[in-house]
């Protein structure tokens, strides 16, 4: 019996399923984020931070996604190298720009939040520096893939870098415990956050997770379309009497 991943290894089947799911996930993401924003802008000011606590409701989901998307890339890369799953490479490739965007947002919102809270936009502390390295790692994955014309080779080399880079995720997670940092320790959602702030944070986190799912599905569909256009362009070139050009960039 085929597993779920084997069943949807067929890009055509994936396109059909994702085409049905994408509108629902997109609407769910929009509604959940809208609900989260209503909750976020109706919380009372924090006794220490005042209204700047509202930044938490976008900064924390972005920071969580920064690491989570990288884990998706690493898992997809393993799927490519170990199981040669045809969609794994598409997943890894398309998640990288989205992960870079969320990491950039975590850095920018964190820096802006830092000014009123810590008195500075930036310090070279362990958490901030490790997330900055994660951002550069995302850029490195994108640059490495773009620099190699052979897509299969580019996919494999990028997958190796992605798997090596996963060592950064526990460093980011435990940096606030291993080193004395300006950044606060890990938030324990059930004990260290007042319930009045917990609900909007959970709702926004769920909304951002759905948003990532929608963006990733759409990006994967685009990538499959791009490959189909490339394949048909090669057929057109052959038909017009040109020599087959398997490495033609489209």
């Amino acid at each position: 019996m085929a597993t779920l991943t084997q069943r949807y290894a067929n890009p055509t089947r994936f396109m059909a399923l994702s085409g049905r799911l994408l509108p629902w996930i997109s609407v769910a993401a929009a509604l959940t984020i809208a609900w989260g924003l209503v909750l976020a802008f109706n919380v009372p000011p924090d006794y220490q931070q005042g209204h700047t606590v509202k930044i938490m409701f976008i900064h924390v989901p972005c920071a969580w996604l920064a690491s989570m998307v990288y884990a998706v890339i690493a898992l997809s890369s393993a799927g490519l190298l170990v199981f040669r799953h045809p969609l794994a490479e598409v997943s890894a490739k398309t998640a990288a720009p989205i992960g870079a965007a969320f990491t950039l947002l975590a850095l920018v919102t964190g820096a802006l939040w830092g000014k009123p809270t810590w008195g500075t936009y930036w310090v070279w502390d362990a958490r901030l520096t490790s997330v900055l390295i994660l951002f550069f790692l995302y850029l490195g994955l994108i640059a490495l893939r773009s620099s190699i014309d052979d897509e299969a080779l580019a996919g494999k080399l990028t997958a190796v870098l992605a798997i090596v880079g996963i060592v950064l995720l526990p460093i980011i997670k435990f940096s606030v415990d291993w080193w004395w940092t300006l950044h606060q320790s890990s938030t324990r959602l059930t004990s260290t956050i007042d319930p009045v702030f917990r609900a909007p944070l959970w709702v926004m986190a769920l909304g951002f997770l759905l948003l990532f799912a929608a963006l990733h599905l759409k990006a994967m569909r685009n990538e499959l379309l791009r490959r189909r256009v490339k394949a048909l362009t090669l057929v057109a070139v052959e038909r017009s009497g040109g020599a087959p050009a398997p490495k033609l960039a489209v």
């Binding site: 396109m15 976008i58 939040w113 057109a236």
Partner: protein
């Protein structure tokens, strides 16, 4: 709504997130439309994948693209 003395910082954060996410969405939608048009133009010229039989071009899948 009074956001206190750091209203500018709070609004700048929300504006940055809105801009970047809106940019991502617009980029993906525009890219998808451009590719769908390119694919439609190729198929209109009768170009099919080498593995596809003539008249068997996965109409269901293509219709959803």
């Amino acid at each position: 709504m009074d956001l206190g003395p750091h209203a500018g910082v709070i609004l700048a954060c929300y504006a940055a997130v809105t801009l970047v996410i809106a940019g991502l969405i617009l980029w993906l939608v525009a890219d998808g439309r451009r590719l769908a048009l390119q694919l439609a133009a190729l198929e209109e010229r009768g170009i099919r994948r080498r593995s596809a039989k003539s008249g068997d071009a996965e109409p269901e899948a293509n219709a959803r693209i």
